[in-house]
């Protein structure tokens, strides 16, 4: 597996973590009503979306490099 393939795997894991953490913080905000929890939740979801966009950009940029 090349660095390209491992990077895709890593970004996928990071996207999953971002959305899960976003949900975790927003769920906490529903109980605590602390603004920091809201910001962390929203920020984490935005990070998840950004990472998806980056992943697509990365795949296009390195389309000529092997996955092996």
């Amino acid at each position: 597996m090349s660095l390209k393939a491992f990077h895709i795997l890593f970004i996928t894991a990071s996207v999953a973590l971002s959305f899960w953490f976003g949900w975790y913080e927003l769920d906490r905000y529903a109980t605590t009503k602390v603004a920091a929890d809201l910001w962390f939740g929203v920020g984490s979801c935005v990070t998840g979306v950004t990472l998806i966009a980056y992943g697509i950009y990365f795949l296009k940029k390195l389309k000529n490099i092997s996955y092996l």
């Binding site: 597996m1 090349s2 660095l3 390209k4 491992f6 990077h7 795997l9 890593f10 970004i11 894991a13 990071s14 973590l17 899960w20 953490f21 975790y24 920091a36 962390f40 984490s44 990070t47 990472l51 980056y54 990365f58 940029k61 390195l62 490099i65 092996l68």
Partner: protein
């Protein structure tokens, strides 16, 4: 003598030798961290009390962000070499090393905060209650119990806890690291100035109280000897931190010898950076699993 298959793939494996080597090494690393993760799960599920909220989520989130950013920069440095852009490689690699140092700096700050934070257990219930009142006033036992309940997630349990099971948490005067009851008594000290933590949900620390060491059964900083929780916490995070440090040293070597290797063999240099990048991604992936289990769950 020239080392074979540093650039071209070996016919029988289809990979250049260093790539096969790093994957074999990473397989052993998976077993190492897998064993530690398993130990963490088993210790946690078999424990009656497991603390929560002992580490700062914002700090952990920041470090997670730093490591994700470093993965992006390390892969970009490799891609730059593949595209023949040496100066771009240097910029991305330097950014990766800055991220690694940032991560380690924040982790050191976290460790320092743990090494200077103390729990004190008292010899009996009456003595414990006396100090709880001294720390938090008339409702001292209630305030200390609340901190204890929140730390151990005991909201839904009907179990009751003796006052001398509950620790008073806070800081010693002068913020010494690694102090223990044995060290303090052998230094002929009879009392300590102790600033208790703020009551749950507030940030107002009570005034420091004087604690007689003859009333103390145990005193411990948040170090591995404190509890099973801190033992496994420090084992896993310190091992991970050492991997970050090792990876940063190797990546810095690639950066500082870039000109030499670029002249000698650009393809081999790109392969070396790829191997370093694979290790770096593994270290970051470990953190992606560590962050939720240590900071969130």
């Amino acid at each position: 003598m020239e080392i074979p298959y540093t650039v071209k793939p070996r016919p029988d494996t289809g990979l250049y030798n260093a790539k096969l080597g790093i994957w074999l090494f990473l397989a052993s690393e998976v077993m190492l961290f897998g064993g530690l993760f398993s130990a963490y799960i088993l210790l946690r599920v078999s424990s009656d009390l497991w603390p929560h909220g002992m580490v700062s989520i914002p700090v952990g989130t920041f470090n997670t962000f730093v490591l994700i950013a470093s993965s992006v920069t390390v892969v970009m440095s490799w891609a730059s070499l593949k595209l023949g852009k040496l100066s771009a490689f240097k910029g991305y690699m330097a950014a990766t090393i800055v991220c690694a140092l940032g991560f380690l700096g924040v982790k050191s700050f976290e460790y320092y905060a743990k090494f200077t934070h103390y729990d004190v257990w008292f010899k009996d219930e009456a003595t414990a209650k006396k100090y709880f009142t001294a720390a938090y006033g008339e409702k001292g036992e209630e305030a200390t119990r609340k901190l204890f309940v929140e730390r151990f997630h005991l909201h839904n349990t009907k179990a009751t806890y003796d006052a001398n099971q509950i620790q008073l948490t806070g800081h010693l005067f002068g913020n010494p690291m690694f102090a223990t009851l044995k060290k303090l008594t052998s230094a002929k000290q009879e009392t300590i100035q102790f600033t208790p933590d703020a009551p749950f949900g507030t940030h107002d620390h009570p005034k420091a109280i004087e604690v007689k060491l003859s009333d103390v059964q145990r005193l411990s900083a948040y170090v591995p000897a404190h509890s099973t929780y801190f033992a496994i916490y420090f084992t896993i995070t310190a091992l991970h931190g050492l991997h970050v440090l090792g990876g940063a040293i190797v990546l810095a070597y690639f950066l500082f010898t870039a000109d030499h290797w670029w002249k000698k063999s650009p393809e081999q240099m790109a392969n070396r950076v790829e191997v370093g990048g694979l290790f770096w991604h593994f270290v970051d992936l470990v953190w992606i699993f560590l962050f939720p289990i240590i900071y969130l769950l």
